[in-house]
């Protein structure tokens, strides 16, 4: 029997599926894990650990923030900067300065290219002057993986964090465009400019910043879906491919043009 739970966290709808007779406690624990990680990784709460880092420029961080920053910096190296956690100010300049549901029209800021310095030394994270970090996509992938780990105690499980999907066992049919993929392990993510769009300065904006220009990416692609080892890697590769990179270590890639 497939048990299902839906809730809102990290600015999107989270869906937990687990194949078990009873899974009240693992479902509650997985949901709690999402809310806990949101308090660490979101840039939309002033009291989150990430907001403290962006405000102070240096903190002794907890293990989750350290891990996600390390994953993001590693991804930046591997994708030649197509995936970059330092596009925070570029997102703000494009107008994504509050949760998506609260966005309004306004003036367009100057593009802010990525590539800012982020230094990790044990649990110490130090940002270069003027650098701020956004962990939106990779944070959801990380949270999906953590929640899937918890749910897997009850049975084969799937966690869908607004499109970032982590799977532990079972065989889960997942709708991607007009095909259905059956995933039994690994992760899946979709990145595109078909959602999370808004208008600024009379021009349409979207949330996928090209770190090289510091502005929303201009590409023929509308959407990219990737299946990889886990949800974090799928998220990284989906952005990498969307911005013209070559897919690395992907089990499946589906790119849709506009």
């Amino acid at each position: 029997m497939t048990l299902r739970r839906r809730f809102l966290a990290m600015g999107t709808t989270i869906e937990l599926l687990v194949d078990a007779e009873r899974a009240d406690r693992p479902l509650a624990a997985a949901e709690g894990e999402f809310h806990r990680l949101e308090r660490v990784l979101t840039r939309f709460r002033d009291d989150s650990e990430l907001s403290r880092l962006n405000h102070d420029g240096a903190i002794d961080a907890g293990p989750d923030l350290v891990r996600v920053i390390a994953l993001a910096l590693d991804a930046r190296d591997r994708t030649d900067g197509r995936f970059d956690p330092t596009v925070h100010d570029a997102l703000l300049a494009a107008g994504y300065d509050r949760t998506f549901a609260e966005l309004t029209d306004g003036d367009l800021g100057e593009p802010r290219p990525g590539g800012g310095g982020v230094h990790l030394d044990g649990s110490r994270i130090v940002l270069d002057e003027g650098v701020r970090v956004d962990l939106g996509g990779i944070g959801k992938g990380y949270a999906a993986e953590r929640a899937a780990e918890i749910l897997a105690v009850a049975g084969p499980a799937l966690v869908n964090a607004g499109g970032d999907i982590a799977v532990r066992g079972g065989a889960w049919p997942i709708g991607v465009e007009d095909v259905t993929l059956e995933l039994s392990s690994g992760g899946l993510a979709t990145s595109g400019r078909d959602r999370r769009r808004w208008s600024r300065g009379g021009r349409e904006q979207h949330h996928l910043i090209d770190p090289r220009t510091g502005a929303p990416a201009r590409t023929e692609l509308l959407r990219v879906t990737v299946v990889a080892d886990d949800a974090v890697e799928a998220e990284v590769q989906a952005k990498n491919v969307f911005l013209g990179g070559r897919p690395e270590g992907c089990a499946y890639v589906l790119a849709v043009s506009a």
Partner: protein, 113 residues
């Protein structure tokens, strides 16, 4: 009469000389050893110093031996690391994700996150 007095004076002088000579000899205590006895604490300290010097030499020998062993191990480890670095990069690991296209109705969907 005069010779009688002079004899007595002579005997008295001789007795005084003999007395003082005897006194000087007794005061010199010729039967005791001429060297001053050593303080036993100094002897103990001297013995301890010798013992510590011997121990310092032994410890130095052990440290020298271990330092040499450490340097040999370090050189061997550095050689191992250099050998590994000289190897060609391993082939990329195949993704562990298991996926296939099916015709089943989806249980969930993915969309732009």
């Amino acid at each position: 009469m005069t010779r009688h007095v002079a004899g007595r004076l002579y005997a008295l002088s001789l007795a005084l000389v003999v007395f003082f000579l005897t006194w000087a000899v007794v005061a010199a205590r010729p039967w005791s050893s001429s060297a001053t006895p050593r303080d036993p604490r100094l002897d103990a300290l001297a013995r301890r110093e010798v013992k510590l010097r011997r121990r310092a030499v032994a410890v130095h020998a052990v440290v020298t031996r271990r330092w040499a062993a450490y340097h040999r191990a370090l050189a061997a480890r550095r050689a191992e690391i250099a050998a590994v670095r000289a190897l060609p990069a391993p082939a990329p690991v195949a993704p562990s994700a298991a996926v296939r296209v099916v015709t089943l109705p989806p249980l969930t969907i993915t969309r732009t996150s």
